[in-house]
């Protein structure tokens, strides 16, 4: 009898215990979002653990790009003017760098979570003759917004599902730390190229 009572009270005691703390963890906090992960530098944008899909329908995380400098632009494929021009600007930079090194990643990340699915990104890549150094990424709305804030890119979706956005070419070092940015279409690439060369 005593044992039963004991067990009963223990059960009650545990029943009353901190079940709230469990509910506090319902939302997932990216564990690595705010602390250095392994060898990823604490200033690196690759801290973002979210998963993206590439134009080849591969799942990928940003830290996969570590090891080489990375040039990043944010675009959407239905963009009539600015995005093709930004892509061309980055291609122009690639041409100038190629002779020095092939070891640079070129990343285009789409604002358009709804429409720029992998096959659409693949089409864009083919249309613009982007080589194997280029990866185009699709992410969900939340992930894309967080990334845009990390890259200081402004954007918003309009009623038609298109996007107004600033145009920035960002340069990340081998660890994914943002080291240089250049705003504008048809901007003078000299400083950007110099920034990349310093990372090679």
């Amino acid at each position: 009898m005593k044992v039963l009572l004991f067990v009963f009270f223990v059960a009650v005691a545990f029943g009353c215990s901190d079940s709230n703390s469990k509910s506090a963890f319902v939302g997932e906090v990216p564990k690595s979002a705010a602390a250095p992960v392994g060898t990823i530098s604490s200033e690196s944008i690759y801290q973002l653990p979210d998963t993206f899909e590439t134009q080849d329908n591969k799942k990928i995380v940003l830290s996969s790009f570590a090891g080489k400098p990375t040039v990043v632009g944010m675009i959407f494929t239905h963009c009539p003017y600015a995005c093709p021009r930004l892509t061309a600007d980055i291609k122009g930079i690639e041409d100038k760098i190629k002779s020095k090194s092939e070891d640079v990643n070129y990343l285009l990340i789409s604002f358009d979570s709804e429409r720029d699915l992998p096959n659409q990104l693949k089409k864009f890549s083919n249309d613009h003759a982007l080589d194997e150094n280029w990866t185009l990424l699709h992410g969900d709305e939340n992930t894309i917004r967080i990334l845009s804030v990390l890259l200081n890119v402004q954007f918003q979706k309009d009623a038609e599902g298109n996007f107004s956005h600033s145009n920035i070419i960002s340069v990340l070092d081998k660890n994914g730390v943002l080291v240089f940015q250049k705003e504008g279409i048809d901007a003078d690439p000299a400083e950007t190229i110099s920034a990349i060369k310093q990372l090679l």
Binding site: A33, A35, E43, A82, V149, D158
Partner: protein
């Protein structure tokens, strides 16, 4: 018998202690903001009012006490541990330590938490299974008619708050007005983070209002301000445009929202 009694007392004590803890951690009240049309402040040629579906919103801003629970449960968001790209050096600088607001700061336990970055606010809302409000949601909620208001208009009240310096001790949540949705202090206490604060393409130089550089503008057309005499809103949008995600500012906090279903 003594054994039985001591176990009984211990259990009761334990339950009571947890009950109290539970009371502190009790979920923040959320109110429903009914669906409506939000007329954006910055318009383009193709602009239409944005339809905002009904949603639930925290009735008041997240407080220091509430945020304390978050950093206790999530060490990576503590002041001494947080990554600088997610929060600058002003992060929670008004607190005594990583996990203490401080005895001398008793008066602000229930004041809105400030000196928190967008990333920190985002993470908090996620932890609560909620989200940061979009600008459209926030503006729709904030334009709710005030109840029992002594000011001539909401704009008057807002401008009045903007042009007064920050108080030394930030008042508690629910200390200013309540609006038609049951929301407290949407204006008059702190600025609040929004999910898509980095939305504005208009040049940061606000006089450049005529033609936004077409190069920067896929959606086409000039961006323009609807009502240039609405200084209150103008200041708020200008403020948002100057922010970066890791900024921690002493008059900037947040509240969370949740989908209805």
């Amino acid at each position: 018998m003594k054994y039985f009694l001591s176990i009984l007392i211990a259990t009761v004590f334990f339950c009571a202690a947890n009950a109290q803890k539970k009371a502190v951690l009790s979920e923040k009240k959320m109110v429903t903001v009914s669906s409506g049309n939000y007329k954006p402040f910055f318009v383009t040629k193709n602009n239409r009012p944005i339809y905002v579906a009904a949603f639930k919103m925290d009735e008041s801003a997240v407080t220091n006490a509430e945020f304390l629970q978050f950093v206790k449960a999530n060490p990576q968001w503590r002041r001494s541990k947080v990554n600088r790209i997610f929060a600058d050096t002003n992060y929670l600088r008004h607190w005594k330590s990583d996990v203490e607001i401080g005895e001398s700061n008793k008066k602000i336990y229930n004041s809105p938490v400030v000196n928190v970055s967008w990333f920190a606010a985002e993470a908090y809302c996620k932890w609560k299974n909620k989200k940061l409000p979009t600008i459209a949601q926030w503006e729709l909620a904030a334009n709710g008619a005030p109840k029992n208001f002594k000011y001539k208009s909401l704009t008057d009240f807002i401008l009045d708050w903007y042009t007064k310096p920050n108080p030394r001790i930030l008042p508690n949540v629910k200390s200013t007005y309540q609006n038609q949705y049951g929301l407290y202090d949407m204006n008059g206490l702190i600025w609040e983070w929004t999910f898509n604060f980095n939305s504005f393409i208009a040049s940061r130089d606000s006089r450049d209002k005529s033609e936004a550089d077409f190069k920067n503008f896929c959606a086409g057309g000039a961006i323009n301000v609807v009502d240039k005499t609405d200084y209150a809103t103008y200041l708020r949008f200008g403020y948002r445009a100057s922010l970066k995600g890791n900024y921690c500012i002493s008059s900037l906090g947040f509240r969370c929202v949740k989908d209805l279903k």
